[in-house]
Subunit: 341 residues, 2 copies
């Protein structure tokens, strides 16, 4: 079966998340020993899906450690040789393969200029594992489909666990313990995503949108639709969409909107109403209710909701590939390790 | 004339830049007095075109002050009430109108948690001007077209001048002095952009790409094409494009590629060759030569090249609007001040 890898790897996610969550004490101990007191700032280093996991990380880690979090501009280090001072900083690199040259180079340079370093990776050896002070291993097993699925949701959970080690987080132990079963609930219910895929089957383009904790899911949904289906899908925060890009949303244009009950909900609902009434958009909502296009599990708290929501996004991209007769495991021109410098 | 404002405001750019550059000593004195020694980090607050100016700012300011620069996630402050500690930080807000509520709220909260604050704005009064310790006024005069043009390039130059005050920069006084005439040279030569607009007249989508200092120009080019022409245009860094999104670039797909002689050139040239040979893309290059689709002035250094390159991007979006019979001054559903919170 052409679609064997991606579907199988999506199905493994509850187990991967359960195994990773069970390692909370070990991860907390390693982070606490590396960062005994709050850093002066945090920098993230990533590309692709891992970059979107890092955007989730920037929210949960800034909320926990109460210091500004930056996403690194790798070219400053790899091309322009800027020797920024990272004294007092924590640097976190994310790479499922652990083998993207620019990610390793940037983390090494941050370490050389004073940062304590963490790597979130599915690799168990190799250059990124060797470069980092602390390795948060995803333990997701080999991922053979080019589109990252289980390593993406595991990276989100890894950030949640790192955040827990750094300070207060907006979820409880019970919320975290419930997560694998909630992801299983989504995986056992693929029909909503198949209906959305059928509705966008002929679309030329799509917008996905979220805000706050769900913003990186909007980015990841668009990336999956781009890389698997060659669909012109762009992800936005609700606020950025309003600042100009909303002009692309015309009558019947498809929009995927991700939100959960919480502080970002009112802004998302106002945006959805505006897109429907003023633009005539076809908005598909993903939220924690059974009565929406893409139901998310009821009871998932907003800050952990990106994990089941990302699985919904995977399902839509996968179902669209099945409808269009595309092999999701190996999109043309892409490879599993992207050797950017 | 429907197109009166945008064209007139584009034409004003050399004068706006000349006037702003003449205020270098005053701006340097204000920044040096606010930040007598290097901050522990810098945070930027912006949305829309101003956010892309801030991405340019993150490169030049990190290169000058040698401390990590972060782009703020406004919702952490406006929705989630995260009280990050900004002791020792410099916060820079960018807003052409000076009236976007979330930008003001975030800067005020950063000030309240320890940051020294700078506002880059075209406003001369109002809440952002009142909130900031130092105001770098763009002095661009009223901008009436909804798409930002002269305030965008003035914001880029403002960041260059702030960077000069903070440390060493990768350009000379002569490079800066030559800039207004170089922008005039682009404005006096609209035909290349008109030819590109004619070639992409019927396109359903487009990718724009740059790397390093020119990356924000790729983002801004795509935003202009989205907001003025409702074109599904997405901007990428060369490295991010390779990590998956490149799958949308199929045979004859239009790509705008921005680069200048310098450290990012080899990576951009390799990408362009790959897009042409492996994807069959129709790549339009904007670089400092007369023999390319969108010539940039010869002699502009890479780190200042985003300013004339942004004018090339404006010309393409404007020429496409003329071809398609769209009024660029007032795209449907958009207004000059976007009231996000």
């Amino acid at each position: 079966m052409a679609e064997a890898f991606m579907a199988a790897e999506m199905a493994e996610q509850p187990d991967v998340l359960r195994r990773l969550a069970a390692r909370r004490p070990e991860i907390a101990a390693a982070i606490n020993s590396l960062v005994p007191e709050s850093p002066v700032g945090v920098v993230m280093v990533a590309r692709g899906s891992s970059d979107y996991a890092a955007i989730y990380g920037r929210y949960v880690i800034e909320a926990a450690c109460l210091r500004p979090v930056a996403l690194a501009a790798p070219s400053l280090h790899t091309l322009y040789n800027v020797q920024s001072n990272h004294d007092g900083y924590l640097a976190v690199a994310v790479s499922q393969s652990g083998r993207t040259p620019e990610i390793i180079t940037v983390l090494e340079r941050m370490a050389a200029t004073g940062a304590r370093t963490v790597a979130i990776t599915n690799a168990t050896d190799g250059p990124l594992v060797e470069a980092a002070d602390v390795v948060v291993s995803l333990g997701a097993g080999e991922e053979r489909a080019v589109p990252a699925t289980k390593t993406f949701t595991a990276s989100l959970l890894a950030f949640s666990l790192v955040a827990e080690a750094l300070g207060d987080v907006p979820w409880t132990d019970d919320d975290l313990d419930a997560l694998p079963a909630q992801v299983q609930e989504v995986i056992d219910d693929p029909e909503p995503a198949e209906r959305v895929a059928a509705a966008i089957h002929d679309a030329n383009g799509l917008v996905s949108v979220g805000r706050g904790f769900l913003f990186p899911v909007a980015l990841e949904a668009a990336l999956k639709l781009k890389e698997i289906n060659s669909l012109l899908a762009e992800g936005f925060s609700a606020a950025d969409l309003r600042h100009g890009p909303v002009a692309i949303v015309q009558r019947d244009f498809p929009v995927l909107a991700f939100y959960s009950p919480g502080p970002a909900q009112a802004d998302m609902e106002a945006l959805i109403e505006m897109l429907r009434k003023e633009h005539g958009a076809h908005v598909f909502t993903a939220t924690n209710s059974r009565d929406v296009d893409l139901p998310l599990p009821e009871g998932t708290c907003e800050a952990l909701s990106p994990i089941p929501a990302a699985v919904r996004a995977q399902q839509v991209a996968y179902a669209l590939a099945m409808l269009r007769g595309v092999n999701p495991d190996a999109p043309p021109h892409l490879s599993k390790v992207t050797a950017t410098r």
